[in-house]
């Protein structure tokens, strides 16, 4: 028996909005420690790793480990049927071939049940080694979303260049070029608005705008975003989900061709 209850259905909605453009289907791995999801997009360029800890749920029960393959578009449709103040409960039997979403209104007057068929997905799991990153940048998530959106108009790729002084995002294309520099903030009133840079070594990496813009769909989940970078390894974009877990996106860098 698996049962997970979340007071705020909106959180689950936001989580799904953050992954459904990148992935069409994914397996939710449930165990007594929580819910995990790891999946690459079709082209194997980016990877989503989602963790929702069991202690972040209002109620969480998972007797046996369970892997539930879901079509994310269908799941999103179901979650759209919930109201903002609803409580959501996910339920499944041990060997179930379907999962149930139950929405309860705040005053308990309306209860709706949605059952969705599960699917058997053949997915590869990647082992991600623990890495010490040369640069870790924390910045307001809205700011990051804005930068990615603006730069996408200039070119297909963004160069992220991180030094002691700050972090620079640049793109260039047929129209011209664009550069956005952010310096480390000295003092801020709100922690969420801070830009902080921890740097061991300066890095400059090139990434595809298209994917970055899909990652920023997670912006509503968190006020801050954390970018971790090292030379020649994938970028990690992390959004913390308060009291519940996190969503991490990994993106393979673009590599200069040696032969051309």
């Amino acid at each position: 028996m698996f049962e997970a209850r979340l007071i705020n259905a909106t959180t689950l909605k936001k989580v799904l909005d953050a992954i459904k453009d990148l992935l069409t289907e994914a397996t939710f791995d449930c165990s007594d420690s929580g819910i995990q999801l790891q999946a690459m997009d079709n082209s194997h360029v980016s990877l989503v790793s989602l963790t929702l800890r069991s202690d972040g749920f209002d109620k969480f029960r998972c007797d046996r480990n369970l892997s539930m393959g879901m079509n994310l578009a269908s799941m999103s449709k179901i979650l759209k049927c919930s109201n903002n103040n609803d409580t959501v409960t996910m339920k499944a039997q041990d060997n179930a071939d379907s999962v149930t979403f139950m929405f309860e209104s705040q005053n308990q007057e309306k209860v709706s049940d949605y059952e969705m068929k599960l699917m058997n997905l053949d997915q590869e799991h990647l082992g991600i080694p623990e890495t010490e990153y040369s640069c870790v940048v924390k910045m307001p998530s809205m700011e990051f979303a804005r930068i990615c959106r603006d730069l996408a108009q200039f070119g297909e790729s963004v160069v992220i260049c991180c030094t002691k002084e700050g972090v620079k995002f640049s793109a260039s294309g047929d129209v011209g070029s664009a550069n956005i520099k952010l310096a480390q903030t000295n003092s801020v009133d709100k922690e969420e608005e801070a830009v902080t840079i921890e740097m061991q070594e300066p890095v400059a990496l090139t990434f595809a705008c298209r994917y970055l813009n899909q990652f920023t769909k997670a912006t509503p989940l968190s006020g801050q975003v954390q970018l971790s970078m090292s030379a020649d390894v994938p970028l990690v974009v992390e959004y913390r989900i308060e009291d519940l877990g996190h969503i991490r996106y990994y993106l393979a860098p673009k590599i200069e061709d040696d032969e051309s």
Partner: protein
């Protein structure tokens, strides 16, 4: 052509060895393309109102049209193609080639009949059957490829064998052909429909050699014997043995010699002087150029050269050729997108169909836990 009924058999026995995906997912990959097969395809398929495209003096240009645009399509998708041309056919293929010549003659006769009868559909059908890739076509195609800045390799013998050698040496990612031989020669990755027309919207079919062997539970030599039993280009087959029976036999006896020893000769007729051994040798150690001697280089296209070659007598539109060249240059200037699988290793298959035995699940989850879960939950109390 190729191995009789192999693709269907793989789809039945080892469906997981076939993966369908879009052409754009192959960005950054170097791929060996069986050029002779491509040319043949183009000569048949690239037509206007049923007739081949021709130059002013009636020379066919269908193959050039196909080559030019499909190569651009691959480059545009970030693929780096290498064309591999057939050398001389192996002696063993003479039987197969004679058969093909016979069929051609037959088609020629029927074509004449159809023309007499004025049946246009039939005329078209037999016309297509008469298509041949001539030396001239090949020479023109090579010139075009060179002008486009794409490398090509001349195989001493069979192109599929050379492609497989390139794949094995790690020079390229996979072989693009429709001929299933490529797997028999041991090309680890084989792609079908890569050079198919964009308009047909066919997904690229990727065959994995390793997964095929795993699915069939055969080793490389046994797989070759299976292919010979099913019917290849190099020798005859035992009459009455189809794909299904061939699999059964290989699974029981593991090689052709043992099968022959145990064969019910009343039921099945073994061809006289059956030279399966030579065919087998050809698959195991085909005549190929040592891949380490082959250098693959993708260079800038020669725009003026292409315009001169394709426009004028061959009647290509200059605007379209130039815009094609621009696409090639653009594809070369952008850096290549990396892939996550080249940074992170794929864990040994931990996929657990969810309704399988529970033991499976536990072990799989334990594997997963090693990577991320454990780190995340260390020291966190369980909620119950």
């Amino acid at each position: 052509m190729g191995i009789l009924g192999l693709s269907k058999l793989i789809a039945d026995i080892a469906p997981f060895a076939i993966k369908e995906s879009e052409i754009k997912n192959y960005f950054g990959r170097k791929i060996a393309v069986d050029a002779s097969m491509c040319l043949y395809q183009f000569l048949i398929a690239v037509r206007a109102e049923g007739a081949q495209l021709t130059s002013v003096d009636g020379e066919t240009t269908s193959h050039l049209m196909g080559m030019f645009y499909r190569t651009i399509r691959m480059l545009d998708n970030g693929i780096k193609p290498v064309y591999v041309f057939d050398g001389k056919p192996p002696d063993l293929k003479s039987g197969e080639l004679a058969k093909r010549a016979e069929k051609r003659e037959e088609a020629q006769k029927q074509l004449e009949k159809a023309i007499e009868a004025g049946d246009e559909a039939e005329v078209d059908k037999f016309n297509r059957r008469l298509v041949r890739v001539t030396k001239n076509h090949v020479a023109e195609a090579k010139e075009l490829i060179r002008l486009m800045g794409v490398p090509f390799v001349e195989a001493p013998c069979e192109a599929e064998a050379q492609c497989a050698a390139l794949v094995k040496a790690g020079k390229v990612y996979g072989t693009a052909t429709e001929d299933m031989d490529a797997l028999t020669f041991g090309s680890n990755v084989m792609l079908r429909h890569l050079t198919a027309s964009e308009a047909r919207k066919l997904p690229v079919k990727e065959f994995s050699y390793e997964k095929v062997l795993k699915g069939f539970e055969l080793n490389k030599d046994e797989f070759i014997d299976l292919c010979i039993l099913m019917g290849c280009d190099y020798c005859e087959t035992i009459r009455g043995v189809g794909p299904k029976r061939a699999v059964e036999m290989i699974n029981t006896y593991r090689n052709i010699e043992t099968i022959l020893d145990n064969l019910d000769t009343k039921k099945y007729v073994v061809p006289e002087n059956w030279n399966f051994e030579t065919a087998r040798k050809l698959f195991i150690a085909p005549e190929v150029t040592d891949p380490s001697e082959i250098e693959l280089k993708w260079v800038d296209p020669d725009e003026e050269g292409l315009v001169k070659f394709l426009c004028g007598d061959r009647q290509f539109s200059e605007d379209r050729v130039r815009s094609g060249v621009r696409k090639i240059i653009k594809s070369k200037s952008s850096s290549t997108q990396g892939r996550l699988d080249s940074f992170f290793k794929v864990l040994p298959s931990s996929n657990t169909p969810k309704r399988k035995a529970d033991e499976d699940k536990k072990s799989a989850n334990a594997k997963k836990a090693k990577t991320t879960i454990k780190k995340e939950f260390k020291g966190k109390g369980k909620p119950k």
